[in-house]
């Protein structure tokens, strides 16, 4: 059964990839698109490359037309280039050697790069763009890193010898002379050609820092007022700015700021770098996006970011993600409406740089606040230390207590488990001793927090209970909240929770924003931990504590109304409750923070109870009360769309297609987004309203509500008209590629990927498929996956398609990976799950995991309908066979072959599998004597051989991956049968197999057999026959078979080029053993002798670290010696 054939490699499927264009909208705008562009919002980075492999080290020519980057795939790095205005991405060099760090010359004609073709340390090489045949390398002497162009005639790089010391070297391209500018521990140099300034990173006693070197004078250290470490400097084209990346915050919370943390891009004015003054640079990207390796050109900042699963190249305006024209009022607006603390850190930086925040102390306080709220103790401590430096003497003790809190927070993070170690407890006790003796609420709050860290809730609660609202000073509310958070769930609920929160809810020094945040957290905790009744009681109790608070009272009342709405069973009761909520929202709409908190609480409540109708109402109200000129509008709009779509999908799930189509229409008329278009068309089709769709779109087009996206709609409508053909798919793809403006839409990428996937399927002929179509499908689907990562409905579809794509082409490792990523999303219809498990089982089988395959098929069997059961039974039998569970295999296959109306091929193959399972079951039994078992196997094999005669070959074409050839079944069944027989019966069976093998010789490709395996098969049969004759005392007959074996051995040796091949060695050992017993000196003796000598001499030249070759050589030499040659 174990086939002797081997190894398919489908080739490097993803090598010749179709490129990705990073296109911002360029064509005619609709009303909706114009409105969207007018919305004030932070700029989202535009993605230019796509995973799953890492793409990094970008460089772009001065005209921003050509981009080059390094891709890491399969442990190898390769250079690619891409025309930014076209859909093209090409590998620059062949796969024979690694290459990286390409930089484009100022005239855009030449690439300099590091090449590992002839030097493991890397050579500096260059070549004309697009001419891989003209690579020209320099002899640098040492490892080469980070080349950059110094005008047209020079290159700057780092040369490193075996020590860590490096040299900054300028190479003259004409004379090839090298000049050393600097030495030491340095990295990542860059140069501004016309000013002659060089910047690089250097490590000295004070740490890793940026250095700026002018043509004259001593190099300047760039002193930055930032926590963390800088790298990758880059000058702006005009030389005014120095851009760099900076590991700024402890994003991985390992309490170190290093290269494992999220990187942020900053810039400083070169003219400001002087003396020992510390500079606050301008932040250009958010720390949430982890961007590094800046390349600045006139229009854009190109960078490598890692926030969507792989390293990829992105771009934003050269001024960064905060629009350059934002004034103080817009920055304040954006700061107020921020959605995360990283955004606020970015905006506070811009407010400081613009002079909105005038005092450095205020800037430091705000930065410290945001880092504490992000729970980033490392960066927080930096800002705290800066505050301490300038603090008045009486303010210092409180700041030091706050520092103990941050130290403790950091230390707790480093603990590997929740268990309190002796060492940690000792540290906490030391900190306790430092704060215990000190007066004030801050010391007590830090003390309470420290108790929570060592699992002592009782003293923590007691200490917190002693804190009065009037005592709270700056940062104290954070400390109180941090302690409460650690106590929550440890027996602290309901009334106790309300009492602990009380000081921060009633403290007069707290802003509305702060109080609302704490009230929101309390309500959210209550939602997670208390029953509806307990929540009502808690809110009523809170209302008695905050009787006259202008923001908390409406928030708490709205919570009660939302709870009432959820509890109501009747629609009228719900509507009545909602009217009260609506009144509260209307009355309080002028207060932004209250509006936001109240709406979010309503969402939290309604979402948890599927009150989708009221989700939509709240979202509509939020949007209605938000001005378009407000930075809040973009968020409110997105929330509205999200809720309307949630309602549309809910109605779809209820099979209320008319309602669903109305919801989708409501969304698309506001957003023109493709998900709404897709949902609308599908819902209209399900509602039997397809004929109306054209009219609706004609109206939308006339009113300028849709323009480019009409192309997407037309493709969808075309796809619904009957079966897709290669021609219609091709036309659809051409139409879609014309819609540049949709490029960043995951729905657009999903449809493109789907069409390329269908092209792969339609164009497949046996094992042949189009690698170009595969690459294009993979790219667009990965883009859909990346761009749609927040939308589980898109992600699920993208993953289904990716899994289907790689199953189609036999890329089983990738297929399994995507199936496994897809599984947690769940399935809408049973047939979706059937598809998933069917092909996942196949992927497992193809990756030689028969047990996992059988497991998937067993799950499938539980959900599949009766019509699929025969297929499930057969597959279960087959996969169990591969998984080694022969009892289960026998059970399923015997059930299967007993079914009526099976196709002849399916029946015969199942019988062959059944025979094998029966044989293995028999072999595995402790007592092997039962002749009945043997007869059962023989009977099944006899059936296989008889029925195989009636089978017609099936050629490989279309979805039939490889040809089906009855002769193969006969050879396998015959071989197995021979193993069960003895004497003359065995000889007869072996002769039949030999005959089949003989006849298959002329069509090896058709039966998917290699010459090598065919020869091995034949040799084994021939030698077994010789052995059989010898056992019967028929030496002459045995000698005849040895005569035949000689030429086969010679052929096999030639086919493996006299290399180390265990099958060949085994055959020779057997041959010589039999020759000795048969006193053989016939015609093959000389041939096989020569072959053996030649093989032994070749093997003697092989390196043999494991001793494996030597072992086999000894076996062969021993048996030859024994023949007395």
């Amino acid at each position: 059964m174990k086939s002797l054939l081997r190894i398919l490699v489908m080739g490097s499927l993803l090598g010749a990839a179709v490129g990705v264009q990073g296109k911002e909208a360029a064509s005619q705008d609709t009303i909706v698109q114009r409105r969207l562009k007018e919305l004030p919002q932070l700029v989202a980075p535009t993605k230019l490359t796509v995973g799953p492999d890492d793409n990094f080290q970008v460089d772009v020519d001065s005209n921003e037309r050509l981009m080059t980057f390094t891709r890491r795939a399969n442990l190898s790095t390769q250079l690619y280039f891409q025309n930014l205005n076209e859909v093209s991405e090409q590998k620059l060099l062949d796969d024979s050697a690694d290459s990286r760090s390409a930089v484009i010359s100022p005239d855009g004609k030449t690439l300099a790069f590091v090449y590992y073709k002839t030097n493991a340390q890397g050579d500096l090489c260059e070549m004309p763009v697009g001419s891989p045949g003209e690579v020209n390398c320099y002899k640098i002497g040492g490892a080469v890193e980070s080349p950059s162009w110094w005008g047209r005639d020079r290159l700057l790089l780092v040369r490193r010898d075996n020590s860590e010391k490096a040299q900054l070297v300028v190479v003259n391209r004409q004379t090839r002379q090298q000049e050393v500018l600097e030495q030491g521990e340095l990295w990542q140099p860059t140069v501004h050609a016309s000013s002659g300034r060089v910047a690089f990173v250097k490590q000295d006693q004070e740490g890793v820092r940026l250095v700026l070197r002018a043509p004259t004078g001593t190099p300047q250290i760039v002193r930055l007022d930032l926590p963390g470490v800088s790298g990758f400097p880059e000058f702006s084209p005009d030389g005014e700015w120095l851009y760099f990346s900076h590991y700024f915050s402890d994003s991985n919370l390992d309490q170190k700021l290093d290269a494992s943390d999220n990187s942020v891009i900053f810039r400083i004015k070169v003219s400001e770098v002087q003396g020992k003054q510390k500079l606050i640079p301008q932040q250009l990207t958010s720390s949430n996006e982890n961007c590094s390796f800046p390349r600045v050109r006139r229009e854009h900042l190109y960078m490598t970011c890692d926030f969507e699963g792989s390293l990829d190249v992105y771009r934003v305006p050269a001024t960064g993600v905060v629009p350059a024209d934002w004034d103080a009022s817009r920055l304040a607006n954006a700061h107020q409406t921020s959605r995360n603390y990283a955004q606020r850190i970015l905006l506070v930086n811009h407010q400081y740089k613009l002079g909105v925040i005038k005092e450095r102390n205020e800037y430091l306080r705000r930065m410290l606040s945001n880092f504490i709220l992000r729970q980033d103790a490392v960066a927080g401590r930096y800002y705290l230390s800066q505050l301490l430096e300038g603090a008045a003497k009486d303010a210092q003790p409180r700041l030091r207590q706050l520092d103990i809190f941050l130290q403790a927070l950091a230390e707790k993070r480093l603990q590997l488990t929740n268990q309190v170690t002796v060492e940690f407890r000792t540290k906490v006790q030391k900190w306790q001793a430092m704060v215990k003796s000190q007066p004030g609420a801050t010391a007590r709050l830090v003390s309470a927090f420290l108790f929570t860290l060592i699992d002592q809730p009782a003293p923590a609660i007691k200490t917190l209970g002693s804190v009065r609202a009037t005592e709270l000073r700056e940062f104290d509310d954070y400390l109180l909240f941090a302690a409460i958070e650690r106590l929550t769930g440890r027996g602290v609920t309901g009334e106790r929770l309300a009492s602990l929160y009380s000081p921060i809810l009633v403290a007069s020094r707290l802003s509305d924003e702060g109080k609302l945040f704490y009230a929101y957290q309390l309500l959210l905790t209550a939602q997670e931990r208390l029953s509806a009744k307990e929540r009502v009681a808690l809110v009523n109790q809170l209302l008695t504590r905050v009787t006259s608070d202008k923001v908390l009272v409406p928030l708490l009342k709205s919570e009660l109304v939302a709870l009432q709405l959820i509890a109501e069973k009747k629609d009228a009761g719900k509507a009545q409750a909602y009217r009260e909520l609506d009144k509260l929202m209307s009355e309080t709409r002028a207060n932004y923070f209250l509006r936001r908190t109240l709406s979010v609480r309503a969402f939290d409540n309604f979402l948890a109870h599927d009150e989708v109708q009221y989700l939509t109402y709240v979202a509509t109200t939020w949007l209605k009360y938000t001005e378009k000129s407000d930075t809040e509008f973009a968020y409110a709009r997105q929330i509205y769309v999200d809720k309307v779509l949630a309602r549309a999908y809910f109605n779809w799930g209820e099979k209320k297609y008319r309602y669903a189509s109305n919801n989708f229409y409501g969304s698309l008329s506001l957003t023109d987004d493709l998900e709404s278009h897709y949902g609308y068309i599908r819902a209209m089709q399900m509602d039997g309203q397809s004929a109306e769709v054209n009219k609706v779109y004609e109206s939308l087009r006339k009113r300028e509500f849709v323009a480019d996206n009409l192309g997407y709609v037309e493709v969808l409508l075309a796809l619904s008209q009957g079966e897709l053909t290669a021609k219609t798919a091709d036309e659809a793809l051409k139409s879609l590629h014309k819609i540049d403006s949709a490029y960043q839409s995951p729905m657009y990428q999903l449809l493109l990927g789907y069409l390329y996937l269908r092209q792969v399927e339609l164009g497949r002929e046996g094992l042949h498929f189009s690698p170009e179509m595969l690459a294009a499908a993979h790219k667009h689907l990965m883009l859909a996956y990346d761009l749609g990562r927040e939308n589980h409905r898109i992600v699920a579809s993208a993953l289904s398609n990716l899994a289907a794509l790689h199953s189609q082409v036999g890329n089983w490792g990738m297929a399994r990976r995507f199936f496994e990523l897809r599984e947690p999303y769940g399935f809408v219809e049973p047939l979706e799950e059937v598809h998933h498990r069917w092909y996942l089982a196949r992927a497992h089988f193809q990756l030689a995991d028969g047990r996992a395959a059988a497991e998937q098929m067993a799950k499938l069997g539980k959900i599949a309908g009766a019509d699929l059961q025969p297929a499930v039974e057969q597959q279960l039998g087959f996969y169990n066979l591969e998984g080694g569970d022969y009892v289960a295999a026998e059970k399923y296959l015997s059930q299967f072959v007993a079914r009526p109306n099976l196709t002849a091929w399916n029946r015969v193959r199942a019988q062959l599998g059944l025979a094998y399972a029966q044989w293995k079951t028999w072999q595995n039994k402790k007592s092997k004597s039962a002749s009945a078992e043997r007869s059962k196997v023989l009977q099944t094999l006899t059936q296989v051989l008889a029925e195989a005669d009636k089978l017609a070959p099936v050629p490989a074409s279309g979805q039939q991956r490889i040809a089906l050839e009855p002769l193969r079944l006969k050879i396998l069944a015959g071989g197995l049968k021979a193993q069960l027989l003895t004497g003359a019966d065995r000889a007869k069976a072996l002769k039949e197999v030999a005959g089949h093998l003989e006849s298959v010789g002329s069509k090896l490709t058709a039966v998917a057999m290699t010459t090598e395996n065919w020869l091995v098969f034949r040799l084994k049969t021939e030698l077994q026959l010789a052995d059989l004759e010898l056992s019967g005392g028929r030496k002459t007959a045995a000698q005849n078979y040895l005569d035949g074996a000689g030429s086969m051995i010679e052929e096999l040796a030639q086919s493996v080029d006299y290399g180390f091949n265990s099958q060949l060695i085994d055959s020779l050992v057997t041959f010589w053993g039999l020759a000795r017993l048969a006193d053989y000196s016939g015609k093959s003796h000389k041939t096989v002798s020569k072959t053996t000598d030649k093989l032994l001499s070749k093997l003697a030249q092989l390196e043999d670290p494991s001793g494996m070759v030597g072992h086999h050589v000894k076996r062969l030499q021993a048996i030859r010696a024994a023949t007395g040659r």
Partner: protein, 79 residues
């Protein structure tokens, strides 16, 4: 002469080289002992290939987890 011309065309075009596939043990084993279910696979392939979204009725969002719907704490300004 004709043969020479064909050879020359092949040499120039590089397209007459036979396409060679190595077939792995699992694929051959599947062909030898598994079954073919073309109708089943045709039906399933249609289900597994999606031009648009998967129509989940429910949202996967958890209360308090959507960044767009977040509520932030206030900064300390020292004022």
């Amino acid at each position: 002469m004709r043969t020479v011309m064909i050879g020359l065309i092949c040499l120039l075009a590089g397209s007459c080289a036979p396409v060679i596939y190595n077939i792995d043990r699992q694929t051959v084993m599947e062909a030898d002992a598994s079954g073919d279910w073309p109708e089943v696979e045709k039906r399933l392939q249609k289900v597994g290939q999606k031009p648009g979204t998967t129509f989940y009725a429910k949202s996967r969002k958890q209360p308090g987890k959507d960044e767009n719907e977040s509520v932030l704490n206030a900064e300390q300004t020292g004022k």
